[in-house]
Symmetry: C2
């Protein structure tokens, strides 16, 4: 980039994470402000504009010093930076690109969906560093995804690029996903999905296990117990790996990425997660894709800020 | 493009289809030469170079009149135009881009995989005209695919972009696919796959049907009978649509194309093919992708030539 600095903004449902970066993509400083979602989120963009202006003033930056502002939002982003229905922010249709730019004296603004932008961040500075085509899978409360081809986000014609949490993997499922369908990947391999499956298995379980079938059950406890060799937990981890490994095997033949990056809270369990996935990935994918690399995400909650600024630099 | 003409070459296992195009992408003339696969296909590229030189001479073209040569090949193409293992041509690793360019006085050559290039052709001048992001599915002897995002082929990091014929759709299949896996999409919805399934269903069938369970059974006969209201044929078409519609519903959330283009011999049955697919597509995909458009391919066997020249113009 021509100028010396850029901002990367990760706009979440409760907090806005803000980063000031230099032209090398190094994070110089980060801070947070609350996301004020009241009144249909009308304060969200003005609050972001204000915190950027305050930082510019504090650092005594001039307009020409700043290349622009990259921002991610928790909702579908259409071409032209228009955001359509950010439920978590109370937004309907908002032209984030133009509106935020106007609040900041016409500075360049680029907008992306949060899961896609996190994927871009991981491809640039995280687990996918060195690869130009990656698919990131974020295993959090839900399952997010981001597809990066030749260094660019594939946002999709309806803003649904990388929405792999909602591919159907079980046509016999009876429970309904948050999206309204049944049998979505998210219902099995998100943190909530893993515990949902575990509750069902534990209700019928007759083997000895350290897992307790109550409200304290979590995906972390399941992976921890599996690491200790608990047989029931190991079977649950294997089931997780089978569902996700098969799904990624199907996805691989669409864009044939160099690398899958696995992130989100569930991925904190570490290598056991990758081992469970790859056990079922390789035998179920096209032979040319069998050597695709699997990596854990590395940037954690900062991935959004990094990816946001990458849209600018 | 700067120059007035370009060549589009579709290199198949038995025939090379050659096209001379003008700068608007209009096909001025097309002709064929045989593909000489003997001696590990060592004559293939020299033969193509010769037929291009002959046409240049015949038309009295000068070097500056020709923008370049686009060519597709029946095998995986890696970055840099290197072709790896074209089994049908007897080739191992061949640097098509550099070798063909050298045979033609250093003219610009671009290379792509045949299914991907056909998709590019359909996106440019065929069923996907007007859309910049499409997925093409070619239902022929096998199932080929091509993914076009923002007007560019997604060839993939191992040349396997768009190899959707080999996504696993049935983990209980006992027959083996040509690729070595079991349960590939191709085993159900290619021309061969449709008749394979039909033979199995007819062996157990007790209903009246015009379909005959012998060597003359074909996907064309099945679709023809379904159009006449034959109940068994209608059930087979429904099964075809269910398998392919569900698979495309899963694929849609990866790159979220504007349009699916359905081509290959099976697609000649027409609207009944699209109707069978879309019946199962919409209810099984993410809500944002439900309005994705389905079209029949329009260029037939010329799609490769058009896509090949599109890589140049």
């Amino acid at each position: 980039m021509a100028a010396e600095y850029a901002f990367g903004i990760d706009l979440g449902g409760t907090t806005v994470k803000c980063g000031l970066f230099n032209s090398k993509g190094e994070l110089l400083e980060s801070w947070e402000i609350p996301t004020r979602t009241e009144d249909n989120g009308r304060n969200v963009l003005p609050d972001i504009a204000k915190t950027i202006r305050d930082k510019v003033k504090e650092k005594k930056l001039k307009k020409g010093d700043i290349e622009g502002v990259g921002i991610d939002v928790p909702g579908p982003v259409l071409d032209g930076g228009i955001v359509n229905q950010c439920v978590n922010l109370g937004w309907g249709v908002v032209n984030v690109k133009d509106d935020l730019s106007e609040m900041l004296d016409g500075i360049r603004v680029e907008v992306g969906n949060d899961a896609n932008v996190a994927a871009l961040g991981e491809a640039w500075k995280g687990g996918g560093k060195g690869y130009s085509s990656i698919i990131m899978v974020t295993l959090g409360t839900g399952v997010g995804g981001g597809v990066i081809v030749n260094g660019k986000i594939v946002s999709g014609s309806h803003g649904a690029g990388g929405e792999i949490g909602h591919m159907t993997v079980n046509y016999d499922e009876e429970d309904t996903c948050g999206c309204g369908k049944k049998g979505c990947l998210e219902q099995y391999v998100s943190a909530n999905g893993i515990t949902r499956v575990a509750h069902k298995r534990l209700a019928k379980n007759k083997k000895q296990t350290v897992l307790v079938n109550d409200d304290t059950l979590s995906s972390k406890k399941i992976f921890d117990a599996a690491k200790e060799g608990d047989e029931v937990a190991l079977a649950l981890v294997d089931e997780f790996g089978k569902t996700l490994g098969r799904a990624l095997a199907s996805i691989a033949v669409v864009v044939d990425p160099e690398c899958f990056v696995i992130g989100g809270g569930v991925s904190k369990a570490g290598q056991i997660v990758l081992d469970a996935i790859t056990k079922y990935y390789a035998p179920n994918t096209f032979h040319a894709c069998r050597t695709t690399i699997f990596k854990l995400a590395e940037l954690g909650n900062d991935a959004g800020m990094y990816g946001a600024v990458k849209m600018i630099v």
